[in-house]
Subunit: 457 residues, 2 copies
């Protein structure tokens, strides 16, 4: 028996990559295979990601078909795309045959449209081919786009012994048997069984006598995020997918849902930071610029707007030019409060924690912002009062404006995501630069107007 490996310690090190590169350069096929064989598919994929393209494709072509398909599934999208450009339709079809239907469909969907057809035609297993074609028809953000056709189903009329016999056949194609789904002769889902239940039951018992009828399921049209929410809420590890006639179509496993949850969280995080989704630290400068520049441009327009507004006030406030020196402070506070309020609402909406009316929530945010605003303003008042030799009216003007600006910034930050959400728009775009920029401008306008009024100019 070979030693078990503690996989947690796997780290792509420079030495490891150096070793692989040397082996490849010396074309030591057997040694390369022996070396890579020690690793899990996901680890091999990580290693290939670090190689040059020529080295990666050389290695890929050495691996057996099962390993290749496992590795391809885990590769970085860009590298996979390049590798496929170097493989014939026949070769891709062979890899696809090895994969579960859901992974196979995902990989085919990434190919250029004209190539998809050719690859599908070359798939030899007719059932696999039909399954993949069915899956390709569903939108990737729906339950249909996430599900796999591989599952174990039994008919209610079968006996336990008959079931075990059939399962021995079906289970070969199913890597993990979570639940056994019980269907009528028309394939309508009526319940479930665990393998454990089956083992514990007597072999002559009928499935209809032992199955559990309370089975959770989702509809093939349901949105991926909703599927993720259900599976998370009810701690499910797999969920069957049905059509509108309640017929069993496939099942979704939790590992795919983990990816949905992670992607959703990453997307919200990037939007909050002013990055349009789907870039990584290792992407090219051009891709990163495309993701970052639009938001920066928005910020620039906002800054120019703020400048124009301040210039408008410049003549009337010429005696109090000191007021302009506080505009970065006011803008920063308005921005920070806005980001806080919007983030908490966006997160609450994502987690389904935000219940009750918008008005109640705005009232709460107003009280919260007022409390924060008063505390901060007292501090600012004391600073200005002491620093500007007891100029009470100036200190009052600035600190009162700060309270009002904070309250309004909080209200904007709360209202915009709620409003977008009601209109069916992803509220996450309301965090980050969008809210900071609008709050900067609102903040400065409000500040200058209030200060002007209080100072009686």
């Amino acid at each position: 028996m070979k030693e078990t490996n503690n996989k947690i310690q796997f780290q792509v090190s420079d030495t490891l990559i150096e070793n692989v590169k040397q082996l490849i350069n010396s074309r030591e096929q057997r040694q390369i295979l022996a070396f890579l064989d020690r690793f899990h598919y996901a680890d091999i994929a990580e290693i290939l990601d670090e190689l040059s393209f020529e080295e990666a494709i050389y290695s890929i072509k050495l691996l057996d078909s099962e390993t290749t398909s496992g590795v391809l599934k885990e590769l970085d999208d860009d590298l996979r795309e390049k590798i496929f450009q170097n493989l014939s339709a026949k070769e891709i079809a062979e890899e696809v045959e090895e994969l579960d239907t859901d992974d196979a469909a995902d990989i085919i969907a990434e190919l250029p449209e004209e190539r998809q057809e050719t690859v599908i035609e070359k798939i030899e297993d007719q059932e696999h081919k039909a399954d993949i074609q069915e899956l390709l028809a569903y939108h990737e953000d729906t339950a249909g786009g996430l599900m796999a056709k591989e599952l174990v189903k039994v008919y209610e009329t079968w006996t336990v012994a008959g079931c075990l016999r059939k399962i021995r056949g079906q289970a070969k194609d199913v890597k993990r048997v979570h639940s056994i789904y019980v269907v009528t002769k028309h394939d309508v889902l009526i319940g479930r069984l665990s393998l454990k239940d089956l083992i514990v039951a007597k072999s002559e018992q009928k499935i209809s006598d032992i199955y559990l009828s309370n089975v959770d399921y989702v509809n093939v049209e349901d949105h991926a995020e909703d599927v993720a929410k259900i599976m998370q809420k009810y701690d499910l590890e797999a969920i069957p997918v049905i059509n509108k006639n309640r017929q069993l179509l496939g099942r979704i496993t939790i590992d795919d849902i983990v990816d949905v949850i992670k992607e959703e969280a990453d997307k919200d995080y990037q939007l909050a930071a002013g990055i349009t989704q789907d870039v990584e630290a290792d992407d090219s400068i051009i891709d990163l610029t495309k993701a970052r520049l639009p938001w920066l441009f928005l910020g620039l327009i906002g800054g120019i707007g703020a400048f124009i507004i301040m210039e408008g006030f410049q003549t009337s406030l010429s005696e109090f030019s000191i007021l302009f020196l506080f505009t970065p402070l006011i803008a920063a506070m308005a921005g920070n409060v806005g980001v806080q309020s919007s983030a908490i609402i966006v997160q609450g909406l994502a987690n389904d924690d935000v219940k009750g009316s918008i008005n109640k929530r705005l009232l709460k945010e107003m009280l919260l912002a007022a409390l924060n605003g008063i505390i901060l303003s007292v501090f600012l008042f004391l600073f200005v009062y002491i620093w500007k030799s007891q100029n009470t009216s100036l200190a009052i003007a600035i600190s009162v404006s700060l309270i009002v600006v904070i309250i309004i910034a909080g209200l904007i930050g709360t209202f915009i995501p709620l409003f977008l959400n009601k209109r069916g728009i992803d509220p996450a775009i309301a965090t980050g630069p969008f809210i900071t920029t609008s709050n900067d401008i609102f903040g400065i306008v409000i500040y200058l107007i209030i200060a002007k009024t209080i100072l009686g100019i």
Copy 2:
């Protein structure tokens, strides 16, 4: 057989809550039970969260012990704490007996310390009690803190038939059998088997002949986040936990890891938005203030710092007071760039995507920031040039400063999280208000110095 319910459609509605409240007020015990019985534990927990405390505790006390424990596990922490204050140690112990060891330990850990002892003493099942005491000793952020003692293990010397017999016994306590763990007589983990393998094997075969030796595992001291990364990377649904002698201690299932991933993402998101972790939209104004005020205070100090700096430049720049009107623009750009760069690094670090040297990464960010900076500055130059009647030197001064500010902001945003990460500090604190505030100040200082130099003052 009762109809299956499509759980996705469950939504706590006002009408539903009204109905429950009415049933409770009229003390219709049987009807309340019949009503709640239709729902999943997690749904009942959601309903209870919407009731008054008296109503919730009245309902909880009606439910049978198994349901109560399932519901308690899903309840909001605050409500659970209040309910426990109203239950005797004996009653809590009874609920704990119904739960899996990991959930039981989590719930006991939430109790005030003096109460933990009393509750543990009242647990009647001695094995369950010992398991819980063992789990309580591990830190909640480690594999030990996540694992449950419930698992199915078999000795290598057993036969398949013997195994199936033993498993029928062990499996009663284990809700989901993912893998069967194979151990030596000293409980050392040597491999795994799936139930499927066992069913497919011949009954007289020995376990030692059929088990798979390549089993992933984690050490009991491993950090929860690392466990999450492994399970995600290798698409695992359960992982065994061992001690340093490789003895099998417990197992972690993917549903607990989903929670770890979600919490980690939520925490990073909140830090980026300037909220200290662990608050929700529905928390009290005091809790929300505690989470938000410190960051706002940091922003205020930064704003005051910016003010003091600008005031220092005021005399020398008195002819060019227009420069001050651009400070909100400069501060906003510095802040936005900083947040973008730090977010992409923080996310990359969280996903283990950031490889290679810090210097290379800083160089890349510099090129990226320079590219963005030049594009934005050209635009700003044109604006100032046109708006300020072809004042070339002013337009140059402002736009050149912007390029430099953007580059330095990008470098700071890249460097700080990498530096914190190297020092073992959570880099996520470097996003949001922390980076915005420091970049505001740096940005304004750099801007004023460069503008002053270019304008030759």
